[in-house]
């Protein structure tokens, strides 16, 4: 099978043709937003990090922003910097430029303030947009597809229907030679023994145990029962009683194929196959990590109805809960019905076809409504 995408340098393929306007620090967000409002076809990445954090967090922000800039759905990138932040805009620009795509920067304190910076940035983004508009979609085999998978606002239908269907779509892609990325390490707790059996090597199994234990220690260090935070209040209302129950349902979305490698937050997996990226379960941080990992399309399985997409990546919302699908037509792209002869394999096939259609240009509900302007970058240490 195949899809229509945009060829990028370094052998990558994009499924959207945005110019990405990326803040290097929270203080630059307003200028980033104002530039984005001036030019059709560009998309902003706003976040709250990049300064007054300890080095491991600053490294994580730098790594994540470089990887985001590499996302093949971006034809070019403008970085918006304040000027005095802890992360280096030049280092980030250099990292993104290695992808072979055009990169430029605006530094607010050097431009003469917001008005001048917006003017300067708008001119740059308009020129990049004009250049990008000449690119045409071409046919690529589905082995070039990079799919991110996520579940959120889960209820028990997630674990019974939409997560296994998402997993079946992952299996189809892996069998075609493509790439799938999943994560949400918190939701491996209680199910890690199922995942380690699928590790391609003992080292991968060890790394899975390491990231789960690291995430659980962060939780237990707070001295409380994490129930209410994970599973969330909404999960509990939806019928999930414990993190173990949530995790066992959640890992179904990664399918059944061998796990090739485990990556840190903000890293870009190398090669093709099924990968884990260490992330929390929360949407703003997770979606950033999977976009940074190079996902062109994300399948997002939901029970109660999570609304958000991601600025650079189409996010397909799928549910197995008929009440949610009927109640939230603004947000849900697909309903998958359990029973009536619909086996998991058939449901996965339908979802895979939808992913290829969206890759080829079909818009998702979140893209049409522009829902998803508030992503974030996961922090591991304090704000200082």
């Amino acid at each position: 099978m195949s899809f229509l995408g945009y060829p990028r340098p370094e052998g990558l393929v994009g499924v959207r043709n945005h110019i990405g306007v990326i803040s290097t620090v929270g203080c630059a967000n307003d200028v980033t937003l104002w530039i984005t409002e001036q030019v059709k076809g560009c998309a902003s990445f706003l976040h709250g990090q990049g300064c007054t954090q300890t080095q491991p967090d600053l490294d994580q922000v730098t790594r994540t922003l470089i990887s985001l800039g590499w996302n093949p759905n971006l034809a070019g990138v403008l970085l918006v910097s304040l000027g005095c932040e802890s992360v280096s805009v030049d280092k980030i620009a250099e990292g993104i430029a290695a992808s072979g795509k055009p990169v430029d920067k605006v530094v607010i304190q050097e431009s003469g303030g917001a008005t001048a910076a917006v003017d300067q940035g708008t001119r740059i983004v308009k020129a990049m947009t004009l250049e990008a508009s000449r690119m045409k979609r071409e046919e690529f085999p589905d082995s070039e597809l990079v799919l991110g998978v996520k579940c959120g606002a889960s209820d028990t239908t997630s674990g019974l229907v939409s997560n296994p269907a998402t997993g079946a779509a992952c299996d189809l892609l892996i069998d075609s030679g493509g790439t799938c990325i999943f994560g949400e390490t918190t939701e491996f707790i209680g199910a890690e023994h199922v995942l380690t059996k699928r590790a391609a090597t003992p080292e991968v199994a060890r790394k899975i145990m390491e990231i789960v234990s690291r995430m659980e220690q962060r939780v237990t260090a707070m001295g409380v029962d994490m129930r209410g935070g994970q599973p969330t209040v909404g999960n509990i209302t939806g019928g999930l009683s414990t993190i173990e129950e949530k995790s066992l349902g959640a890992i179904a979305k990664g399918g059944t194929r061998p796990i090739k490698a485990v990556y840190e937050y903000g890293e870009r997996p190398q090669g093709k196959g099924l990968f884990i990226v260490d992330t929390p379960g929360r949407e703003p941080e997770f979606l950033t990590a999977v976009a940074a990992a190079g996902a062109q399309v994300i399948i997002f399985s939901t029970g109660l109805g999570a609304p958000q997409g991601f600025p650079f990546v189409p996010v397909i919302k799928v549910t197995g809960n008929p009440n949610t699908y009927n109640r939230l037509p603004d947000h849900l792209d697909m309903f998958i019905e359990l029973g009536n002869g619909n086996g998991i394999a058939k449901m996965g096939q339908a979802l895979y076809q939808e992913a290829l259609a969206v890759a080829s240009g079909k818009q998702t509900k979140a893209e049409i409504s522009g829902y998803g302007n508030f992503p974030n970058i996961f922090t591991i240490g304090p704000v200082i």
Binding site: D155, A191, T220, V224, D225, M226, T242, E244
Partner: protein
């Protein structure tokens, strides 16, 4: 007739409802190869769980063939199973005493 509950694995001692059920409803189920009639002791909302067996306090509650938590009270067949009678064994900073 529409299926009312799903049992995901033969090791499971709970079932998940596919529709909201009422206290007193009777379910004819095949549990691990044995035909069983289970009468609900309480209302169980759509997507929630009911017990298929007698589960003693401090015993494993099993779904997907895996342990999803530990019972905090005696659970009878047909009882509603949720946060009021099962607890998680993981992420329990309250039991581990927090930062060491």
């Amino acid at each position: 007739m529409k299926q009312k509950v799903v049992i995901l694995n033969h090791k499971d001692n709970v079932a998940t409802t596919l529709t909201s059920l009422k206290a007193g409803d009777s379910l004819k189920l095949e549990v691990n190869g044995h035909k069983k009639v289970i009468k609900l002791g309480a209302d169980v909302p759509f997507g929630h769980k009911l017990s298929l067996a007698r589960i003693e306090p401090n015993s494993p509650v099993v779904k997907y063939g895996e342990v999803i938590g530990i019972s905090t009270a005696l659970i009878e067949p047909g009882d509603y199973v949720h946060v009021h009678n099962i607890a998680s064994a993981r992420g329990r900073g309250d039991l581990e005493g927090g930062e060491k």
